[in-house]
């Protein structure tokens, strides 16, 4: 008893270690700064800082930027950077959540048909809606509706198999629904070949420069999803023991899994609605963190939020500056730069933390 009490301090969970938390936050802050400063118009660090302080009503500070520069900073760059951060955070944490809930290291946020459904919604909007309607509002809404309907259908198909306890059934249902929606989407696309390029560029993903409207559109979904997932992060560690053992440890596995999957999926549908299908982020970010730090889900999930946000902000900077004024599809950037980085991580951590 006394021996044990002395050793109670030895019994610790490697939660968010200060080193990792600080490094992650520093990475995010640096990425945000680069994202705000990079662009065809050079605003200058000092002027941006002044303008920020002035916006925060710090007395005695006024902006030295012209009204046009102010507009570039606050109506284009800042909202775009924030949008990229939200999408990156959401896709990374959703990927990590799916990997834990389905005990499948290859699970990504698109596992349950969200991508195929959103793709169909977007394609229908591009093909059939009049030009004026589709741009700002209708496209993300159509993509969001398509993604959500696909996942609902996945759940319905999974449940009808009457083996609800089996997570693999749900994954198979997701594959089925995704195949169906992708076929439908391809058909609509072929019937309207004049929209091919627009559909294609949506599918490859990009962060739009649409000011604050898209940020406002997805913020509630992303915020709720991240709060729910982080609140349940300890439970994800328990789920990694498998359904039976989690149940015998007192977890209502079906209910918890439903809550996590709904949160991750709704958030992903919202992110996909504004940004298209950005691949690879949901797999590479959680795995890179896992390989480098070796932590469990309760630290992995918050780290995925922070590092995923920074990663996508940087990827978006490359997408919009590398061939400026043209933009490279963001999905191309994340894979082109992400893949070699991930290969390096795999190489340096072999036999390591996985």
């Amino acid at each position: 008893m006394t021996i044990a009490a002395e050793h109670a301090s030895d019994v610790r969970v490697r939660g968010l270690s200060p080193v990792w938390a600080l490094s992650a936050v520093a990475f995010l802050v640096l990425s945000l700064a680069i994202g705000v400063l990079a662009g065809p118009v050079d605003l200058g660090v000092g002027a941006v800082l002044e303008s920020t302080l002035a916006r925060l009503h710090v007395p005695g500070v006024s902006t030295s930027l012209t009204p046009t520069e102010e507009a570039i900073l606050w109506e284009i760059r800042v909202p775009r950077v924030i949008l990229a951060a939200l999408v990156g955070a959401m896709l990374s944490v959703a990927g990590a959540t799916y990997q834990g809930v389905f005990r499948n290291p290859l699970a990504d946020p698109y596992l349950l048909g969200v991508a195929a459904g959103a793709g169909l919604g977007a394609t229908i909007a591009i093909a059939y809606l009049p030009e004026g309607l589709r741009g700002q509002r209708a496209l993300p809404v159509a993509a969001f509706v398509g993604g959500s309907v696909a996942v609902l259908l996945t759940y319905a198909v999974g449940r009808s198999a009457r083996r609800e306890r089996d997570a693999a059934t749900l994954v198979l249902a997701g594959v089925t629904v995704a195949a169906f929606f992708t076929a439908w989407q391809t058909f609509v696309q072929q019937q309207n070949s004049e929209t091919l390029q627009q559909v294609y560029s949506w599918i490859l993903g990009n962060i739009p420069s649409t000011g604050w409207s898209d940020v406002v559109l997805i913020l509630p979904y992303v915020a709720v999803a991240i709060v729910v997932i982080l609140a349940l992060r300890r439970v994800v560690d328990v789920l990694s023991l498998g359904d039976d053992e989690a149940a015998s440890l007192g977890i209502d596995v079906r209910r918890v899994r439903l809550a996590l999957v709904v949160a991750a999926t709704l958030g992903t549908a919202a992110a996909v609605a504004v940004s298209g299908l950005i691949g690879f982020v949901g797999i590479i970010v959680p795995h890179a963190i896992r390989l480098l730090s070796g932590v469990g889900y309760r630290a992995l999930l918050p780290l995925s939020v922070i590092i995923g946000a920074g990663f996508l902000v940087l990827a978006d900077v490359i997408a919009r500056t590398a061939l400026s004024p043209a933009e490279i599809p963001l999905g191309v950037v994340t894979a082109f730069f992400g893949a070699p980085f991930f290969a390096l991580v795999l190489r340096t951590t072999r036999g390591g933390a996985s």
Partner: protein
């Protein structure tokens, strides 16, 4: 403490456990024995409500279906036959997962939980390994971590499914000696599915012999472990020999046809 009345489990339309009646007293050690496929694992899973069953199961006087998952987990801990031990998890983190039923779904472990985990780590001599990852442990060390997790759960009933199948004879003995000591010290009730009849006879107060899902014998080891019983249900020819005040089961080689 544990009451089973007419417990039947059907899997794929076939009864795997059929109308089992049994009672286990507080602090008793019951060995579930029987040939492969007799329904030992399924019966344990039914008690832990991991598989749907008909009939009645009562734990501490309450029907098992009326308990919430976490109430049930505070009453019953399970040591599965093939526990999953994520290689990245440390021993301390793994044992702390045993505290899950004592925490709300959103809570994290407090001082009491770390204390309970430290106690069970100490009991299994795992304190020096607390920060080691499960992936770096030997089979015996891993098995001890699994038992430590079950103890940290602080449940009064522990169900064990072939808990020592992966261990050598020395580690088997250590594990069972330890479980026996814990039973005496903490009044645990143990129900263990066991293949090794000699080990079962060494430790269990009582044996339940299952065959094709039915109870075919229930009683003290001396009553259950007879040459006729084992021959008819296991198809094995054995000798039962006394060793000290307990029994040992010795397999007999079939007569060679020359």
């Amino acid at each position: 403490m544990i009451e089973l009345r007419g417990v039947t489990v059907e899997l794929g339309g076939r009864p795997v456990v059929a109308a089992v009646d049994a009672a286990v007293a507080d602090g008793e050690w019951l060995a579930l024995i029987g040939p492969n496929g007799a329904g030992k694992t399924t019966l344990l899973r039914a008690i832990a409500r991991l598989v749907p069953c008909s009939g009645e199961i009562e734990l501490a006087g309450r029907p098992v279906g009326a308990l919430s998952r976490s109430e049930l987990a505070r009453l019953v801990a399970v040591v599965p036959q093939e526990p999953s031990t994520p290689p990245w998890m440390t021993v301390a983190e793994y044992v702390l997962l045993g505290r899950t039923p004592h925490l709300g779904p959103l809570a994290k472990e407090g001082a009491r939980d770390r204390d309970a985990a430290a106690r069970s780590l100490a009991r299994l001599d795992l304190l020096p390994l607390a920060d080691r990852r499960l992936g770096t442990l030997s089979g015996g060390e891993k098995q001890r971590a699994v038992v430590a997790r079950a103890l940290a759960q602080e449940a009064r009933i522990v169900l064990l499914d072939e808990p020592t199948a992966a261990l050598d004879i020395g580690h088997q003995q250590q594990a069972f000696d330890l479980l026996d000591r814990l039973r005496e010290e903490s009044g645990l009730t143990l129900v263990a599915a066991m293949h090794d009849l000699t080990l079962a006879a060494q430790y269990a107060d009582r044996m339940l012999l299952l065959d094709a899902g039915r109870v075919v014998a229930d009683g003290a080891p001396a009553d259950v472990l007879t040459e006729v019983m084992i021959a008819s249900h296991y198809g094995a020819s054995i000798d039962v020999v006394p060793v000290g005040d307990r029994l040992a089961v010795v397999p007999r080689r079939s007569a060679r046809h020359t």
